[in-house]
């Protein structure tokens, strides 16, 4: 199978430098060839009845963190808000 590395990178919001393109493409080709060797198994629902997951109700908790604590790691903050490039023309 031919892997279109540019297309997959675009879907992944990544860019691969030109000089690395060939290596990424040939590695991906080999990895896909490796992983596609899987047996045909009769179709069945994928949810596992034995899964230990128990879901709790969503609840709003306030006062646990300050605004400053939550934005301290953001790359660009102004007046307590996260700043991003213009998204609406």
């Amino acid at each position: 199978m031919n892997i279109d590395i540019k297309h997959i990178a675009k879907l992944s919001r990544l860019r691969i430098e030109d000089e690395k393109q060939e290596k990424f493409e040939s590695d991906m080709q080999k990895i896909v060839e490796m992983v596609e060797n899987l047996p045909d198994i009769e179709d069945a629902p994928l949810l596992d009845a034995g899964n230990p997951m128990t879901l709790r109700k969503d609840k709003a908790e306030t006062g646990k963190y300050t605004r400053d604590e939550l934005t301290a790691n953001a790359p660009h903050v102004t007046a307590g808000c996260l700043v991003v490039p213009k998204t609406v023309e």
Binding site: L14, K30, V32, V35, P52, L55, L82
Partner: protein, 485 residues
């Protein structure tokens, strides 16, 4: 024996009876770090100041006669993908190189409550994606048995630190072998707990359905002691199992009389070094001579497990790592033209090549037209693998297999060949796919003196059988060795 390489359970007793203080022990570990860290490179971040402060605090509590946990005052290192409030948590990635979490992982809250001295954060493959710790953005960690070789990965820093005496015990995480494989390569004990036994809250997500945090120690008792401290239900993790855990350390009997051991024949086929095969089978023979019953069993789908693992783990990674967009936290590219350009530049500059490879593989197997042929097939295989293990565990108590097909390879040997690198996980990934507990313990050395790992695998939530079997073996061989550094 120096303080820095004394077993944790013995140190715990020495602290309790005031033969030593935590301040002395912490000083001994940091002076060991001073002398060997330059050649081993286990840590991304050291936290000596807080360690010294905490040690003194524990000593004060003890002198006031307060009742303390067995781990109180013991220096423990933490893999750098476990969130530590106020302490850098980088996942060994440029993307998170400045990230300081505003909260603790549940395991950290538990350890802090038990007065552990947190030495610092340990190096790993970037976002836990790798088998050699070579994909770390910061540095390459070396194997304490031979510093020209890799320590394994992704918890390479965690295993190397314990092996080299740079921490008494450490926490790692295991998605496809990331605790057991470096434990095997560095000659230490590592446990990958049952999926759901330890809370994942605060563990930076790689593949959420496979990730588990687990302990690494220099002996079986230390691993049980640290596991006792971190296991248990947590309402902050929806996949956490609400079951009662015993004290695995106190319940450990080190007995194998009548224990039914299965030898899965598929784990001894092609690609396993003779030295590894011989050491593992000799260990089984020793257990058999001491009362265990051994028989060959079959897990027919084992050959496909690696393929299913790379599909499932990469699919989950591609979705989990979508959060790194340069907005809420982490790295952001300097120059960009609009939002999409910012996302693409941020992610391309912030992630290393292996992480990009996994994200793209995951995106590919989930993409339109390929989902049924890859992801769905892998998930169906996952169910078949679990069923095969269930069948086997109706006849045996524990499985014995190699942890890794070879001993530690040279730095740089496999880094440009992803297929070869992925193949080192062939004996460990199946256990994550089935959600089982498994442990690696040292069981001998090859002709270069490099450690070999014996992997013990048990049924879900039967960690006790792993500890008992491992403890029996450790006692029979008179304890595990330390590397000369």
């Amino acid at each position: 024996m120096e303080l820095y390489n004394t077993n944790g359970y013995e140190l715990s007793e020495m602290l309790r009876t005031k033969k030593i203080s935590s301040a002395e022990l912490t000083e001994a570990v940091f002076s060991r770090i001073d002398s060997v860290e330059q050649s081993v490179g286990a840590y991304v971040t050291l936290d000596k100041e807080n360690s010294v402060r905490k040690a003194k605090e524990v000593d004060d509590k003890r002198s006031r006669g307060e009742e303390l946990s067995p781990l109180a005052g013991i220096p423990v290192g933490i893999k750098d993908n476990i969130s530590t409030k106020g302490l850098l948590t980088t996942c060994s990635s440029k993307m998170l190189s400045d990230y300081v979490p505003p909260f603790n992982a549940t395991v950290m809250d538990k350890l802090i409550k038990q007065d552990v001295v947190v030495t610092g954060k340990l190096n790993m493959d970037e976002f836990a994606m790798g088998s050699s710790t070579e994909t770390s953005y910061f540095k390459k960690t070396k194997n304490p048995y031979d510093i020209s070789r890799i320590p394994g990965g992704s918890s390479g820093g965690s295993a190397a630190a314990v092996s080299a005496g740079e921490a008494v015990m450490t926490l790692g995480s295991d998605t496809g072998g990331s605790i057991r494989q470096p434990a095997a390569y560095c000659g230490v004990v590592g446990l990958k707990p049952t999926y759901g036994a330890v809370s994942r809250f605060g563990l930076v997500a790689f593949a959420s359905s496979l990730d588990q945090i687990g302990p690494i120690g220099r002996c079986v008792k230390d691993t049980a002691m640290l596991f006792d401290a971190i296991c248990g239900y947590d309402e902050k993790d929806a996949t956490s199992a609400n079951i009662k855990h015993p004290s695995y350390l106190n319940s450990m009997n080190g007995e194998v009389k009548g224990l039914k051991i299965g030898i899965p024949k598929e784990y001894f086929s092609k690609g396993i070094d003779n030295s590894v095969k011989t050491a593992v089978l000799n260990a089984v023979k020793l257990l058999e001579n001491n009362g265990a019953l051994v028989k060959e069993v079959s897990l027919p789908s084992t050959d496909y497990a690696l393929n299913a693992y790379y599909i499932i783990s990469s699919a989950e990674a591609s979705s989990n790592l979508a959060r790194y967009d340069g907005v809420k936290y982490g790295y952001r590219a300097k120059d960009y033209d609009g939002l999409i350009d910012m996302y693409e530049k941020t992610r391309s500059e912030g992630f290393g090549d292996e992480v990009k490879r996994r994200i793209m593989l995951g995106t590919f197997v989930l993409s339109s037209g390929f989902y049924d042929a890859y992801y769905k097939k892998a998930r169906l295989l996952q169910r078949r693998i679990s069923a095969e293990f269930s069948d086997v565990f109706s006849n045996v108590d524990v499985l014995c297999a190699p942890t890794v097909p070879t001993t530690a390879f040279k730095i740089g040997e496999n880094i440009d060949n992803p297929i070869k690198m992925y193949a080192t996980d062939v004996c460990t990934v199946t256990i994550n796919i089935a959600g089982l507990p498994a442990m690696s313990i040292p069981c001998g050395y090859d002709d270069k003196g490099l450690p070999i790992g014996l992997q013990l695998i048990a049924n879900k939530f039967d960690e006790q059988t792993l500890f008992n079997t491992a403890e029996c073996y450790e006692n029979l061989i008179g304890g595990f060795k330390h590397p000369e550094l």
